[in-house]
Amino acid sequence: MSYNMHILVCGGTGCQASSSKTIISRMNEYLKEKNLDKEVQVIATGCFGFCEQGPIVKIMPDNTFYTQVKPDDTEEIINEHIIKGRKVSRLLYKEPEHHNPVSDSKHIEFYKKQLRIALRNCGFIDPENIEEYIAREGYTALAKCLTEMTPQEVINEIKLSGLRGRGGGGFPTGLKWEFASKYVADQKFVVCNADEGDPGAFMDRSIMEGDPHSIVEAMAICGYSIGANKGLVYIRAEYPLAIKRLRIAIKQAEDYGLLGENIFGTGFGFTIEIRYGAGAFVCGEETALIHSMEGHRGEPTTKPPFPAESGYLNKPTNVNNVETFANVPVILNKGAKWFASIGTEGSKGTKVFALAGKINNVGLIEVPMGTTLREVIYEIGGGIKNGKKFKAVQTGGPSGGCLTETHLDTPIDFDNLIKVGSMMGSGGMIVMDESDCMVAVAKFYLDFIVEESCGKCTPCRVGNKRLYEILSKITEGKGTMEDLDNLRNLSHVIKDTALCGLGQTSPNPILSTIDNFYDEFVAHIRDHRCPAGKCKALLTYHIDSQLCIGCTLCARNCPTNAIAGERKSPHFIDTEKCIKCGTCIDKCKFNAISIR
């Protein structure tokens, strides 16, 4: 049976949160009612990436892109677009610059600069249907490897492509496979690291939700090349949708003979099992991940020995991250040369980023390595929200750093980001504006690290706690200039002595903010002032009696009844009661409330 039209509805976690499930069921009901259910198919896809505008509905074949669709819009879309062929222009995306509706997603600024390799199928296929994956060249790379290539040839191809680990470290993937292939053992393992833990990063989850078969296929290819017949996916238990889709994908692949014994009749067999993480950021580190899979506390151990020599159950193990795997089938289909033609000298291909924060177009994007931060923030991201001024962009999550205006023209790749004091990390990219306090941001990351440190080694267990305490002191206006020196020295010692990669990079957010926003630290210390107006201990709220017209909106919204005043006359704030939550500022339409 073939359909004339397809309605693609985003079924990613973000859009499901804003009721895309209801949209799908209402669409199906209404199509049935109109007797169109044989001609029009509704598909729940993976993430389109444009989360800011979700839920997203796309009509194929004409590529019409509806944004912020509500369940109540479904009848109108079907009546107008499907039946009458007229686009529902009020639901079309409007560029913030000129406010003209754009119908075709290809013409939307958000997508123009993107190149989707790892996300190639996200938003295009029904992730729960293997046929749709196969229709888009799915499992051809596996077939090619098993029937036409030796394991070493596969490794060579990956090496030649220049693919580097997308989980944060950036280690050359082909080389990693080669190490694992060299060790002789009765059993080897392929592990997919899907324990995405960076706060504010959801690349891996979107890939697993939107294109789980690409991971299944890539793991089998890796297994073939290193000589492993068993794969394990270590996935966060907090990702129920990704887990569900991965399970379905594995089951379907087994049913199609693409997993299991004797795949394509070549004698090669491969199976995949799922293991759950249980909420520990440190388990993103591969030795910790392996211990966790073995049922232990997720504590890292010193390398060497590397997992390639002694990993899961002390057997040679190759661990790659989700996004890394997602690139593999494409590389083998289109060739290493094609892949290596994209990107920069040292970093080939593309990188997926979770673009978030004070930016107009929050979402999941994929750009060629070498794209500048400016292009990402201003062209794809549509600039800073509410017309505010750009202040900083944080990459690399808790291991990365905060970059400034002066770094905006830096082409993004592994080496450049390290050069300017940050790192690629797994792909979180958080944009901050003038109202964000960089001392508080550094403290936020340290708070995360303190909470997530496994506690095994002294520098991370005690050192990061002390860094956090010093930062807290500074945000309360109690810091000294000596504290700044202590922060620096302690940060360097932690980098130099911590046991695992996470500990060694944990002070990066502090070092980069001290380097790039030194004056802001000094303002907190010397002047007891938070220039961004964020550090509660250092500010009080005031109502300007000249500007206040007594509309009472602030008083009605104040959660602690700290604002008093007669109607139509200026209000005032009881600073004793005020909890500095900021609601009144958000509500005031006359800019009468200020922070001092």
């Binding site: 504010g200 907090e238 232990h296």
Partner: protein, 158 residues
């Protein structure tokens, strides 16, 4: 410590879970996940049973339970509230939301209200960054929450 008695049928199910995983030490985390689903949390007794079945010291089970933030030894409230403290939500003001929940419910992170109705937690990124700041109550997602919304959200469940 107050002794709690586990219902026998649930204990039987727990034993079956352990057995299903071959009573293997390496399956400890998978078993604990299922046990938590079964009981809603992991009280001492449950950990002792798992330890016995797997033939490992209970200190080891507790060491694992206390390591991972997903595992809890306290029963959650009827309506578990989670405020996303991922970076995207943080820069869009989730700390203020969390503070407001703490203030109105008069509990801290990881605690449950005395009537057992609400428990409060923070979590790291649910991936709905487009809706930041995000609050989850049970399965229900609230996006673009402001401190003023908090009271309304709580009232919905009272």
């Amino acid at each position: 410590m107050p002794e709690i008695k586990l219902p026998q049928n649930k204990v039987d199910q727990l034993l079956a879970i352990c057995k299903e995983h071959g009573n293997q030490e390496g399956e400890l985390i998978n078993i604990l996940h299922k046990a938590q689903q079964l009981f809603g949390y992991l009280p001492d007794k449950v950990q002792c049973i798992v330890a016995k079945e797997l033939g490992i010291p209970v200190s080891k089970v507790y060491g694992v339970v206390s390591f991972y933030s997903f595992f809890t030894m306290k029963p959650k409230g009827e309506h578990p509230i989670s405020v996303c403290m991922g970076t995207a939500c943080y820069v869009r003001g989730s700390e203020r939301i969390l503070d407001e929940f703490k203030r109105l419910l008069n509990i801290n992170i990881g605690e449950t209200t005395p009537d057992g109705k609400f428990s409060l937690d923070s979590l790291r990124c649910v991936g709905a960054c487009g809706l930041a700041p995000v609050v989850l109550v049970g399965e229900k997602v609230y996006g673009r929450v402001t401190p003023a919304d908090v009271e309304r959200i709580i009232k919905e469940f009272e």
